[in-house]
């Protein structure tokens, strides 16, 4: 675990840049993390997904998988990949300041 300065805030991050403490997160951090990870601007559709992921994690301690995200967030899987290239669940989790979704076993 190391610390990083993101949007003028010092936060704890893991080796892959995921926030260790979800409560250190704020919207400015989300903007900067998005930008650093290839998402130039967070549109309302991005925010819908990021907030859905984050709320679900805060509520249950688990981040939804891409399939559950596609079924429950109202954003179809194909669009999720357009919004968050490569790994929507991973990237939305990172931007939302929650831990990397554990791979299913």
């Amino acid at each position: 675990m190391t610390t990083a300065l993101i949007a003028d805030t010092t936060v704890d991050v893991d080796a892959e840049g995921f926030l260790v403490d979800a409560y250190q997160w704020n919207e400015q951090i989300a903007d900067e993390l998005a930008h650093d990870n290839g998402v130039d601007e967070l549109t309302p559709r991005h925010w819908l997904v990021v907030r859905f992921m984050r709320d679900r994690w805060l509520e249950t301690g688990n981040a939804p998988s891409i399939r559950a995200l596609g079924k429950e967030s109202g954003v179809p899987v194909k669009e999720l990949y357009e919004l968050f290239p490569k790994g929507p669940a991973k990237l939305a989790a990172k931007i939302g300041g929650i831990p990397k979704p554990r791979g299913c076993i």
Partner: protein, 416 residues
């Protein structure tokens, strides 16, 4: 007063739980009923061997009701829905079964139709799955007439049953095609949505080494969005393509369909959210679950179901007696991984400890972990006997405990 237990599903978890409860309680104390849509119990680990002619369909299927002890009711019917408030299960044939405790053990369901194009043109012609018996039999014929080209093994998305099975399939295909003399003309590819061939880092490293040795190409981070069975290509959600001549796919999985018709019982994928240690469902205190039906972060594997089953009947006893639940499941899984040429390796792990090298103690002597050996292959073959004669009847397998043993494991192999 006599209590009633209803068990949904007569597969591994349902059968062994029914048998253990029947042994634990007298008939005048407890009524045990099992419901399943059919009377065909498939030994699912055998499905891997069918496409290669190493097992025949009739060797791996037995009647479900014959695996149940006397004094257990068996209902062959579709389940319409569970009504949690009324504490009963409605069956499609009109029967209603009330319960004091319910066990959900209906496993996972294959959902090939949820991937665009998968069951369209080419399905069962050049696109197959070995995850059900009909598919495995059809694939056997296709492999027999395969004369080379690109053979792609694809995992649509997690979670799936037996996450090592697709890797085993690739290993066995390498062996099978070499025996048939067409391996030189075959490109063998494994594509996965994961960032490595397996979910656990140390085991992944060992398995990746074996894939390289067997010249099996690995495509990672590939989330299959569409299958073109005519053009012979898989297309990922982010627009990458993997061409194939023969596709062996592991389709998307979900829980049983009735779960979706039962308000409050399951999650978005119809799996059952539950306490990872007590197996009590979040839906209600008198609902328990085990095996592939759960949403737990353990493997969907027979060994997991078996270890859960060895603990679950004790918790059901506690619940019926109004006591605190005592048994805690640790996520223990134990899987033989066929690597071809009559060898296999063994992995043993739980929620907290990933598979590592070392030795696994058994009553018959130690088996090597994460290393290929003939002994492990024999272990895998022998297991089918244990399954029908010890595991399903609910007997404990000597020397193998439901909790993961740490003795013999090289735990310093874990770097994180």
């Amino acid at each position: 007063m006599k209590k009633r237990i209803v068990i949904l599903g007569g597969g591994t978890g349902g059968t062994l739980t029914a048998n253990r409860l029947r042994r634990r309680f007298d008939s005048d104390e407890l009524q045990v009923d099992v419901v399943d849509r059919d009377d065909r119990h498939v030994y699912q680990p055998g499905l891997l061997f069918v496409p290669f002619g190493l097992a025949d369909p009739d060797e791996i299927v037995r009647p479900r009701h014959r695996q149940l002890r006397s004094g257990i009711g068996f209902h062959e019917a579709e389940i319409d829905a569970v009504e949690l408030g009324a504490e009963h299960v409605r069956l499609a044939d009109g029967h209603v079964l009330g319960y004091d405790a319910l066990v959900v053990a209906t496993g996972a369901r294959l959902l090939p139709e949820e991937t665009e194009g998968l069951t369209g043109p080419g399905w069962l012609e050049r696109v197959f799955t070995f995850y059900d018996l009909d598919g495995a039999v059809a694939l056997r014929a296709a492999l027999d007439r395969f004369e080379g080209g690109r053979l792609v093994v694809n995992i649509a998305d997690m979670p799936i049953k037996c996450p090592v099975a697709p890797i085993e399939f690739a290993f066995l295909a390498d062996w099978f095609l070499r025996e048939r003399g067409v391996r030189e003309r075959t490109e063998l590819v494994l594509s996965t949505p994961l960032d490595a061939c397996f979910t656990k880092p140390v085991a992944s490293k060992h398995l990746t080494y074996l894939l390289e040795e067997k010249q099996i190409e690995l495509v990672t981070d590939f989330a299959a969005g569409e299958v073109d069975g005519v053009g012979g290509k898989l297309v990922s959600y982010d627009g990458r393509e993997v061409p194939f001549d023969l596709l062996v796919t592991v389709p998307l999985h979900g829980g049983a369909a009735y779960v979706g018709r039962s308000p409050g019982l399951g999650d978005a994928l119809d799996f059952i959210p539950a306490d990872p240690h007590t197996l009590q469902a979040h839906a209600a205190p008198n609902v328990f679950t085990l095996g592939d039906a759960t949403d737990l972060p353990s493997s969907k594997a027979g060994s997991v179901t078996h270890f859960e089953g060895e603990l679950l009947d004790a918790n059901i006893r506690c619940f019926l007696a109004g006591e605190e639940l005592e048994s805690t499941f640790d996520g223990h899984a134990n899987c033989f991984v066929e690597t071809g040429f009559h060898k296999a390796l063994l992995i043993d792990f739980n929620y907290d400890t990933e598979p590592v090298p070392g030795r696994f103690p058994t009553a018959l002597g130690p088996l090597p972990l994460l290393r290929e050996s003939r002994l492990n292959h024999l272990g895998k073959l022998m297991f089918q006997w244990f399954y029908w004669h010890a595991l399903l009847p609910g007997r404990d397998i000597p020397g193998v405990s439901p909790q993961m043993p740490t003795a013999g494991k090289q735990l310093d192999a874990i770097t994180t």
